[in-house]
Symmetry: D2
Subunit: 303 residues, 4 copies
């Protein structure tokens, strides 16, 4: 089936789910978003982009940013980050503190909050400005110079961020932060507050489907590194429902509480879907339905 | 690179690991196996088989059997088994009893012991002879009528099986067994004690790479079902190192404590590698190295 | 206040709780008991007994038996049992399997099921007949030769006992059972199924308030040993509400799911209260209220 | 045996343990204390004080302060604090974050760090100056107007306090703090940094043995409240070895990482022992041995 047709089918499949579920209520400025929006963009490896719905409305990328900071750290120094972070699924949300404590401050994977804090901390040490470096990558790859953090969202998260602060202090107690807690939290919040569209995110992530090659033809990651980031996304990218997600969608993917999901189809392209209402697993319910249908109707799958 | 060359490279990469590690000492009859053996077989979707080393020596398939019993239950009644078993990675070996208890007797996934017991229990209820049905499938697909369980291994496991009995009784206490504890344990032990070669296992698993199509052209699973079994293998197939395995090998795979690993490359074929000594994660250390090298040198990967 | 007056006050305080709560439904033959019964007996160190209500009705002692088997093992070989069992509160019911697994098969304390199984296993190894030895002690101390196990309750427990079997097999997997799983379960079930009255239990436990001295003046435990058994009862005797129980009642005590509670007031005497309906903590709600009132109105407390 | 003789026996029993173990190395200024010191004081209910060794050397009271802040909050508003803190033993150090998370931010008991932070937070809300109110109580009861916090220790703890900050932020994320994280941490650190002698602490704690009556004859706690604070000390006062401590010493007690232990013998008096080196359980090894011997040789026990 043609991509445009598969996109239509995906939109149809998602329709009953759009607006159903809850918003990320712990971040006040996200709780005010209209939950009835839905957008999807497919960027092919050849650079073509297909969109449907609200694919040009900006939303808060939140945890989707974690894929990009991880890629930048791996690009800068290869496997070193794995001395500080594991790459196993976490299994259970309530285990997060238990595991971090039992495993002496080494987070389970780079996509749970604890691991993302360590990655951001490392990126900040490497670049002197983690969120700036991320923003610049996003601007270059999406071709949009006005991609930026939403200061309102960032402020809103800082105020509600006691849980993230607890994690950061626990990391610090085990000596797994290079910078101060305040610094890493500031960088982390700025990175999560990036505001982008489905189209922009799909373009920005395209290097993961192209063996690490950026829009300008330069190599951010080696082919092997790109494959490995995809593998970590597949096993750990969707919180505690990575198994469920792999079962239904079968693609490396990363979701965010802003309602976006980025999915990589190696050697084919990147899909980005967005609809703000979250299902019980904490990922966009409509987004999950859309990706499920898209992989069923296109032949874009990995399994 | 040609498959035969990639096989050679895999054997070379594995060589330093062969014989290093521990045998599955809790099963006395496995503890006596010569740890210096290594074999590998690649079965292509077109039916061609390439082998290297001890690929025609039989070994105890152990947990690799769990992929086949799951496939048979899904073939028989589709999604129903997921009412009794989840499909999320378990996260931590020490969590196994905790999770089973907190999640009211519903195992985390069909590949941890608790989940495999439930799958075997269901297969037995459906067929009246779970281990017989499995043996017959293995014989048909491998083309070898003498494939069978090793009674010595089965007896040995029964005697050492207090932990498995504990899990089965906990399942029974939550009403998640149809048969008796004794019955499900007997069937489970018989299935794990199947003795097969790399060549036979690779052929037997080929339907997973061929969208569910068996050797005789009939359909055991639909294409969608086959993809989904592969997805569960990727996220949950290698105990608590599924993330690590996906990162290094990037293929749906299932390992067993007999030292075998079965890996699926959708639309390409199936790899089976065997070397008895187990690494810290409980999978064959040499097998992991061989698969890592094979996917690097061939272009057989999913990411 | 006189003991008889304090007993009346205790009965009054318990009245609103009598019959409220649930019965131990997982043991069919206990689920049929009339929940509106209430009895209490106080045995003083000088041998005097005061009773009120249904203090001469027999009920299933269940876990109260664990205090007596522990005392007999300590009497036989002193501190040795602590090599196989710890003496710390367990903290959380869901932790039971997790802790047993993480602590390599050494139960948290002798009053959780796992610990009691180990104590019974040891008593059986020491005496050749654990439940017989316990029954004989109960008969001698209560002065009633017809004290015995209720075979109906024992059978009922055996049938419902998958959870206990799971614990016993996990103990066996760590080598922390001397006898077979079947043997220890048989003994354990027989000991829990003992049927006794409040009066009989209070007399049987009197040695714990008398520095270890039995009814015939012989010494079962040294004074130091008796103190220590009392200490373990106070910190671990009432499941996961030991803290709550110590707070409200302030006495070493052991409860059972049959609705009985045995409490020791060192150098004063022993109280036994019974009312079948269990509160949320798994101990008799009316029994707890009665003991709370009794310690408030008498001067029989330890703090 | 006379108290002075029992003190001598306690000192003898402790001698082999003095200086053995580790200091509280995570607080730099405590790590510099001479570990070979040992002191003990017994204050009788009639006001008499007996001392031995370094009983007049000041040390950091640390967690012993938690008994006093709890008593002051109970004095001010009775049972209300239990809506925010439970009174059950925690079972396992690694469970602390897990339990706090699973129990929605309600700490297990007032003596683990999480619970003590909530108590201090409440005391600060009630008094406007928690650490000042505590210091004043300590001065009045010990009769020494120069009792004060050691600013060096307080600063030292603040710097090393990432773990405590993590706990405080987790409490705040569940809405279980009235003041800010910074405020409660400041107060908590100041209270732990109080510097007192064994003699001073024994006198300060005497109200717990005297049914709540202070040195000036006024009532801080009712008799019932005093009993209950003692009960919570016995079940939860010595970290994760409350069971072990009750077994060996059999008294309500609270230990601190400064090496002090305060023990209450209701209606008799209060013992305070100090020796800086900590055993594996985190309480003073020599202090534990001294109390064990003292209770054995005096008749001051509760069981």
């Amino acid at each position: 089936m043609e991509i445009t047709d598969a996109l239509l089918r995906a939109q149809e499949a998602a329709a009953p789910e759009v607006g159903r579920g809850r918003l990320a209520e712990y971040i006040p400025s996200l709780a005010g978003v209209d939950p009835h929006q839905f957008g999807m963009a497919i960027a092919s490896c050849d650079g073509e982009v297909h969109v449907i719905g609200d694919a040009d409305v900006r939303f808060s990328v939140q945890s989707i940013s974690k894929v990009f900071t991880l890629a930048m750290v791996v690009a800068a120094e290869g496997e070193k980050i794995w001395e500080r972070v594991s790459r196993e699924p976490s299994g259970n949300p309530f285990n997060s503190f238990l595991q971090l404590d039992q495993e002496a401050g080494r987070p389970r994977n780079p996509f749970i909050n604890a691991g993302a804090l360590v990655v951001t901390d490392r990126l900040h040490a490497l670049t002197g400005d983690a969120s700036g470096a991320l923003r610049d990558l996003m601007r270059r790859e999406s071709g949009r110079a006005d991609v930026d953090s939403d200061p309102e969202v960032a402020r809103s998260e800082l105020e509600a961020g006691h849980r993230t602060l607890a994690v950061a202090h626990l990391l610090a107690s085990y000596g797994n932060l290079e910078g101060s807690v305040e610094q890493v939290i500031d960088q982390y919040v700025a990175q999560c507050a990036l505001s982008m569209t489905c189209r922009e995110l799909a373009l920005a992530g395209l290097f993961l489907a192209r063996d690490g090659v950026l829009a300008d033809g330069s190599q951010l990651l080696t082919a092997r590194q790109a494959k490995r980031v995809n593998a970590v996304m597949l096993t750990c990218g969707t919180y505690d429902s990575a198994g469920e997600f792999a079962y239904r969608v079968g693609l490396p993917a990363k979701s965010g509480v802003g309602g976006g999901i980025l999915a990589v189809i190696p050697d084919r392209g990147v899909a980005c879907v967005w609809s703000p209402a979250l299902g019980p697993s904490g990922s966009s319910a409509a987004g999950l339905a859309a990706l499920d249908a898209f992989t069923t109707f296109s032949d874009w799958t990995v399994f």
